[in-house]
Amino acid sequence: MKRTLILSTAICALLASAIYAFGDIARPKPTPVEGKTIFYTGLTVVPDSKSYEARLQISQETLKRIQAAGANNGGPASVVQGVMHSSTRTIMAGLFMFLAVSFAGVWFARSSQRRNHKAVAAVLLIAVFFGIATVIVRANAGPPGYIRWQNLPQALKDGKATSGGLNIEIVAGDENIKLIIPLRNTPKQGEE
């Protein structure tokens, strides 16, 4: 009994010290709020040796679109964004896709038994069409956006313009306009 009491006291003391120990842990840094993309456009960085100030030139039409998108609070999320941020919708879409393919298989098998060649041929044709279309689309998929910015440092040195895609994001706070360029550190020759 005495032994149990001492053991219990020791465990309680250990747990209490753990609380104090956790109390000394620094507060986690607030995770930076992710900016909300409201608009996609293009950006051209042009070095100008004659200018005294950096300038941001926006066409009237683009400004109108940005204003409209901003007023719309970014507008509705795209299909891809919506699905990415909603696991429920992804699961349900996947479930129904599974059911569709399963029941289509049953129907396909039954149609084959009834020698409904036209229907079978139509399904096969559609499947082949979508398959080929998918291959073509994937094969023609463009390179990732950062590729176009890889030559920016060299282009700036050479005084040449560089163009690429740009997402306009709205972030919280009152800071200066920030331009984030996706540059990848590529190993130079002889560094490997």
Binding site: A68, A69, N72, G75, P76, V79, G82, V83, S86, T88, R89, M92, A93, G94, F96, M97, L99, A100, V101, S102, F103, A104, W107, R110, S111, R114, N116, A119
Partner: protein, 345 residues
């Protein structure tokens, strides 16, 4: 006496049945083409104004004509169609109540706006499964049909719906007016089969007109939706869901399709006799049959006329609120078209 075969027919306009048919088909085609072109021109020119006027004038009456048409197509005795109509009416009731409950639950803060797509997707899923059930039940009424493809097709559409529920609902808004053209096709096949080919040729004009509207209006600036009514109309046409598309184009396209829809129900179908004499209940099987309900059917039609009048009064007093209410309740007639169209196929 001169033989009848030798009497010159040139002086008698459309004396031969074939000539009469050809001329009436031409007149029918000319009316169709003219109506479609005028509708497209008006919808493109003044989309907001035409939308307001057409909904005010025709929304109620076209529902009355649809109700009369559905009563006429309802068999006097269900017989083998009992299950089909049971599922049809249960679905219309449940889905309409569900559709009306969505905004009510939203405004009473039962769920947040973030869950809105889930609610819409759920409702769309129920709609698709109900349609699949109707198609399968209808297919079973004829042993030569195998309409079991409806289930995988419905599941496939459900998957698409869960990926983009808002866009799926918008697709229903644009596709629903086209269902009226399908009804007209079915009726011409039954009653004026000689016009069917002409009608189908005229239908080819529809994608051309839509492509022309797209070409003309895609570059136009969006409509000024600075007042509540204009905002409602642009939102109904998908202005928020398709921010990169001019709302002028969206509203024009929607108004054009709605005008065709109203034209078919109010003018075309009654003209070819699909709805029978509108003042007579004798063409309605439920009223005509032995032991039927002629007074009840007449009461329904008369009460519906009062509802149309009340709708006009509502539009006059508060157009925007009445329009919102109408488009919510009108989901019932959108749903009711499905089983009656299936009965025609």
């Amino acid at each position: 006496m001169e033989r009848t075969a030798n009497i010159p027919l040139a002086a008698w306009p459309f004396a031969r049945p074939a000539d009469r048919t050809r001329v009436s088909a031409r007149l029918f085609a000319a009316l169709l083409v003219a109506s479609a072109c005028v509708s497209a021109a008006l919808a493109s020119w003044l989309p907001l104004q035409v939308s307001i006027v057409t909904v005010f004038l025709f929304a109620g009456p076209h529902n009355w004509f649809e109700l009369r048409y559905f009563l006429m197509r309802l068999p006097a005795r269900m017989g083998r169609s009992r299950n089909f109509f049971a599922v049809a009416f249960a679905g219309i009731g449940v889905l309409t109540l569900g559709y009306l409950a969505l905004p009510a639950l939203y405004y009473t803060n039962v769920w947040s706006g973030e869950n809105w797509p889930l609610a819409i997707a759920t409702w769309n899923t129920l709609l698709l499964l109900w349609l699949a059930a109707l198609v399968i039940l209808r297919g079973r009424q004829n042993s030569s049909r195998d309409w079991s493809w409806a289930l995988p097709a419905a599941f496939g559409l459900c998957a698409v719906n869960w990926l983009a529920p808002d866009l799926f609902s918008l697709a229903i808004v644009y596709l629903h007016p086209l269902v009226a053209l399908w009804f007209l096709d079915r009726h011409l096949r039954r009653t004026r089969s000689e016009w069917l080919r002409t009608y189908r040729r005229c239908l080819l004009l529809l994608p051309l007109l839509m492509a022309g509207m797209f070409w003309q209006l895609s570059g136009t600036p969006s409509l000024a939706d600075d007042n509540g009514l204009a905002w409602r109309i642009t939102q109904h046409a998908g202005g928020q869901l398709l921010p990169n598309v001019s709302t002028h184009l969206l509203v024009s396209m929607h108004v054009f399709l709605e005008m065709l829809h109203y034209g078919v129900w109010i003018i075309a179908l009654p003209l070819i006799g699909a709805t029978g004499a509108i003042w007579s209940t004798k063409t309605i099987p439920l009223a005509r049959r032995h032991g039927g309900f002629p007074k009840f059917i007449a009461a329904i039609l008369i009460c519906s006329l009062f509802v149309v009048a009340v709708l006009w009064m509502g539009f006059t007093v508060n157009y925007a609120a009445t329009r919102d209410l109408y488009f919510a309740v009108a989901m019932a007639h959108v749903l009711a078209e499905a089983p009656f169209l299936l009965r025609m196929i």
